[in-house]
Subunit: 451 residues, 2 copies
């Protein structure tokens, strides 16, 4: 697959038509930067007032709005206060909370405290969403103390690379495309592409179309190493990079032991290849606007199997990034039992709202006669045969194995799900801490979209 | 597995109790031999009368009654008229039919003409079932002309071997045991052990119990070469015998290029090992008397799936040995289609009576929602993807493959079987010559034993 396989003129026409709609205006760009500078200045002032200025190195704006790679109507302002490395963690926390609160109050905003590795201030002033985050000032190549310490270095790197290539709009196209096909975001629910990953891909391939064409040659385990990395770290071409087993590996220029695409699932890796190909072959704006949602609607317009859903009460304090992996683990574990019991499903999925977790299955087979064929060991295995016929009364020889007719444990999905909700299957299913199916509510037969 | 694994005293006790019931009395043995001699003498007389004596070498009684290996109440008398090798085939046929008929009439019997490789006379005189079969006189090691030519040589070999060892009753035990477990007979319906095979096994292992114990070491492809073969043909111990791919290979002492166990199926090979083991561990008369029938009754006493049967009118002129392999072939071919269409069955079987062939399936799943998941090529295979989405509208990416929801061709077994009966599946199913499912009658839901 190469450029000549596609009608790129048509593709470009579609993209030109999009840019106006996805990029903020120059005016908007300027406003957001000015507002950001204002906050930073207020923070410096407050630090001076409190005689705490000596604790920090500097205050920087990071994130996509700092680099002009944000989509229109994205008013996120990320401000990082960089502390000197000697500063005590507790002092760092106290300082940010104290100074941050004062500044937000002065600017008539609302704020609340969020928790990542350190606590930080999240605020709303007018239409702007502001995060004020503390971190330590690192130099290139230094070991990180916490994950946020990398962010200002990412910002430095990207600003340099994107300025020299003016690829900002190309990044926006890629983000919008990934949003359209439902795989933008590296949270554990989406398992897709982070904004930072989009920026690195655009830098590597030199543009949106080239990234899509490049992906047509990807295989599972694809490794991407930006040229710049060799310059920064003065590496030979045969340098041995760390080994990752992920579907896509993109080495972080800030930390070569980190894969920027670690959160990307195999399925989403494949979706990107597939929809890129479809878009290049049949270019259309549709891919950028709710493509994924519309696709699900189209897929839903068909004959249906029987839908069963386990509804599990959710602990509101537990975030999506904890809930979703646990839902997934539980569902995989239940899938195994379903297959063991011959209940075949067409698809399964999960979804959580504020109150509940929903695990759903669309079944093709959800009732079976109360009999099953159990296949035992080959007749040549005497010990196995002895054990098998001790346990199974109605045995006979089929092909080369001793087999038996046995009654099934569950003759329909209702019975099986009731046993799960009653906590009877703890030996066979892992009941995760925050998504335990004990006392789950069982919904049956009402078709509801859950993807 | 060896002798010391079993309580052989208990086994012997059971066998002693059986012998009286399965062996003919001395009186019976004498009577059948005398009657056989009488027929042979009448045949010689008639040949002399007709001046045809010069065509033949001799007339011999063969078969189990000739060797005292028949079961009680088996009154089969097999008489072979051995012609000189130069005699024309047509002359051979005419002679046997003419002479045979006259003799049977003289003895007040009823006769009819049967057809194997040559036609032969089959007759009933009192309680005796008599076959008068023509063949050519062969010497040891000579190429055979037709399969029946071997029979007198088998007889010669066995008489010699059995006389010197007095193993006759051991042969009877083995035959009765195999009958009990339903695998006696080398016809293409039974696919079990022939009488001749039983006799060779007893000679090889030196008795019934030893044969059963010996079988516990059998693996698929087991090869048995009687010691006597090396003497007869003056072979070295490292002689390379013909290669057969059958589950059990027993070289015919009369023809080393023939496997006496060729008709034995893999399943019956395994049944023999399994039931021998069960009998040795828990010796009981039950194994010798309708064990197989009783087992099926026991297996049948359970919860049931849905039974579907295709009833196919049978051409009465076509014998079981043609019908059964064709039924089997057809059933295998339909099984494939059933699996393709996700209709899971617990078991299947076939059976023919004089008028009809019955192919039956006991289904676990016989109705499905009108939707199925079609799994296409991996997204990396562009040509495959192009083709797949051209044919399938509702496509999406699952794991690494493009998939689609499609409507199923048959949403229940009724529809599928109707299509078969209407002759619509000739491209996918082989419709055998004598067991064509076209216009088959479909029975559903009535449970009927068919094994």
């Amino acid at each position: 697959m190469d450029k000549e396989n596609f009608e790129l003129e048509d593709v470009k026409e579609v993209l030109d038509g999009l840019l106006n709609d996805i990029s903020p205006s120059k005016e908007e760009e300027t406003k957001i930067k000015e507002f950001s500078k204002k906050i930073i200045n207020e923070l410096y002032d407050e630090l001076n007032n409190e005689k705490l200025r000596h604790l920090i190195v500097d205050i920087v704006q990071v994130g996509s709005t700092a680099r002009n790679t944000n989509l229109k109507n994205d008013y996120d302002i990320d401000i990082f206060i960089r502390f000197k490395k000697g500063v005590d963690k507790e002092v760092l926390k106290e300082t940010v909370l104290k100074i941050g609160k004062k500044v937000i109050e002065k600017l008539n905003g609302k704020y609340w405290i969020e928790y990542a590795e350190h606590p930080y201030i999240s605020a709303k002033i007018g239409r702007y969403d502001i995060d004020i985050v503390p971190c330590y000032k690192l130099n290139w190549g230094e070991n990180i103390v916490s994950a946020v310490d990398r962010t200002p270095l990412h910002n430095e790197f990207l600003k340099k690379m994107l300025k020299s290539n003016t690829l900002n709009n190309e990044v926006r196209l890629l983000k919008k495309f990934l949003k359209g096909i439902g795989i933008y975001g590296s949270d554990l629910k989406t398992k897709g592409f982070s904004g930072y990953l989009c920026e690195l891909l655009i830098i590597h391939y030199g543009g949106f179309i080239n990234t899509l064409i490049g992906a047509q040659k990807w295989k599972l385990g694809k490794k991407i190493i930006l040229n710049e990395i060799y310059n920064i770290y003065k590496l030979n071409k045969d340098y041995k990079f760390a080994d990752f087993k992920d579907p896509l590996v993109v080495y972080d220029p800030v930390d070569l032991n980190r894969n920027v695409a670690a959160a990307l699932s195999k399925e989403n890796f494949c979706k990107f290849i597939f929809y890129s190909y479809q878009f290049l072959k049949n270019p259309s704006k549709d891919f950028f606007y709710d493509y994924h949602k519309n696709l699900n609607e189209k897929l839903g317009n068909r004959k249906k199997g029987m839908l069963f859903t386990l509804g599990i009460r959710r602990n509101k304090d537990i975030v999506d990034d904890v809930i979703y992996p646990q839902m997934e683990k539980l569902q995989k574990s239940i899938n195994k039992i379903l297959i063991e019991n011959d209940f075949e499903f067409l698809r399964c999925g999960n979804y959580a709202d504020d109150d509940m977790c929903y695990l759903s299955w669309e079944f093709l087979v959800w009732e079976l006669p109360n009999i099953k064929l159990k296949i035992g060991p080959p007749v040549f295995n005497k010990k196995g045969v002895d054990n098998f016929i001790k346990k199974n009364d109605k045995y006979f020889v089929k092909d080369c194995n001793v087999c038996a007719y046995v009654e099934r444990n569950y003759k329909n999905v209702d019975e099986l799900f009731e046993a799960i909700a009653e906590g009877k299957l703890k030996k066979k299913i892992s009941y995760p801490k925050y998504v335990s199916p004990e006392n789950a509510v069982i919904f049956k037969g009402i078709y509801k979209e859950y993807e």
